[in-house]
């Protein structure tokens, strides 16, 4: 019997190396988030049905093969629902853990494996998206944090200078972990005070694309900050997100 821990090992050794670390496998421009190319990983080899048969007998290599083949599309579906890379990657892991746990359930006669898998992915992504709403930080609140930081009129009246610098460093560090274009747009907008038109000119894009980058960047930043707060008793989260801030600009 293979435990979930050994599943995690599969993800660590195969999933992350082969899928997450090779973004060229992930997305196509047409079906969702732009800029990357989806490669159909279905090449010569055992069919999904054959692999599922092996999976039912507890063959981890079959799971790895199914992941190699289908993780890019699952990730793409999750990204389309969530617009957040970290959350989408979480969903991919949940989906394949679900595939392993429920390997006895899928029956070829009911639906193609890929169809069933995509349905599972969509449901999990929607659940993830909705669970985010229950977190106390709204997108507007993160905007307020960014605005306050950008305007340097930090209203954490009781906070020390050291605390505020910690907050700035934390925010800057989290922005630095976002996709490069999102990070650049956020830094230009919030830290350098450029307007959308100026950022579009700087980045060689349209104003619409910059607005989209800012929106997705804020969402991703919010998700990162929420995760950070959940995962640690971080000073930034405690001081920075549980207290109203005075904002500098709209």
């Amino acid at each position: 019997m293979v435990s979930i821990m050994s599943n995690a090992a599969i993800f660590a050794s195969s999933f992350h190396d082969d899928v997450i670390c090779r973004p060229e496998l992930h997305f196509g421009g047409k079906g969702g988030h732009e800029g990357e190319t989806l490669v159909d990983a279905r090449s010569a080899g055992p069919s999904d049905e054959e692999l599922c048969g092996r999976l039912k007998r507890g063959d981890q290599a079959a799971l790895r093969a199914l992941m190699d083949r289908h993780a890019p599309m699952v990730l793409r579906l999750a990204m389309n629902v969530l617009s957040d890379r970290g959350d989408a990657e979480d969903v991919v892991q949940e989906v394949f853990i679900c595939v392993w746990r429920r390997r006895e359930i899928w029956v070829a006669a009911d639906a193609k494996f890929s169809t069933w898998l995509h349905r599972v992915a969509i449901n999990k992504a929607i659940d993830k998206r909705r669970s985010r709403r229950s977190t106390p930080e709204s997108a507007e609140y993160i905007n307020a944090v960014c605005d306050a930081v950008a305007a340097r009129e930090v209203a954490w009246d009781q906070s020390s200078h050291v605390d505020r610098m910690d907050t700035l460093r934390t925010l800057d560090g989290e922005i630095g972990r976002l996709p490069r274009a999102q990070a650049q747009a956020l830094r230009c907008f919030y830290f350098e005070g450029r307007d959308v038109a100026a950022i579009a000119a700087l980045m060689g894009g349209t104003e619409q694309s910059v607005r989209s980058l800012l929106k997705r960047g804020r969402q991703a930043l919010r998700a990162r900050l929420v995760r950070r707060r959940k995962s640690s008793d971080d000073a930034f989260a405690v001081r920075g997100l549980d207290r109203p801030l005075r904002t500098g600009r709209r």
Partner: protein, 68 residues
């Protein structure tokens, strides 16, 4: 939201949920969560090929078409 409304939404705004009109996101997600047909539609749009309805032509067909 009905399946045809959902189909129209996808056709107009694409498969990225955040690009949908804000007031339609929740009704659309309700349908998407509940309807396997909507899920298949969404997956087809995300793959860039509403392909379940339009089977990919065989390579031999393509060769034949090119020849004509």
């Amino acid at each position: 939201m009905t399946l045809s409304q959902f189909e129209a939404l996808i056709a107009r705004f694409g498969p990225v949920v955040d690009s949908w009109p804000a007031d339609q996101i929740e009704p659309a997600l309700d349908l998407l969560r509940a309807s396997s047909q909507a899920q298949d539609l969404f997956a087809g749009a995300a793959s860039g090929q509403p392909a379940e309805r339009r089977p990919r032509p065989a390579a031999s067909d393509l060769v034949e078409r090119r020849a004509h």
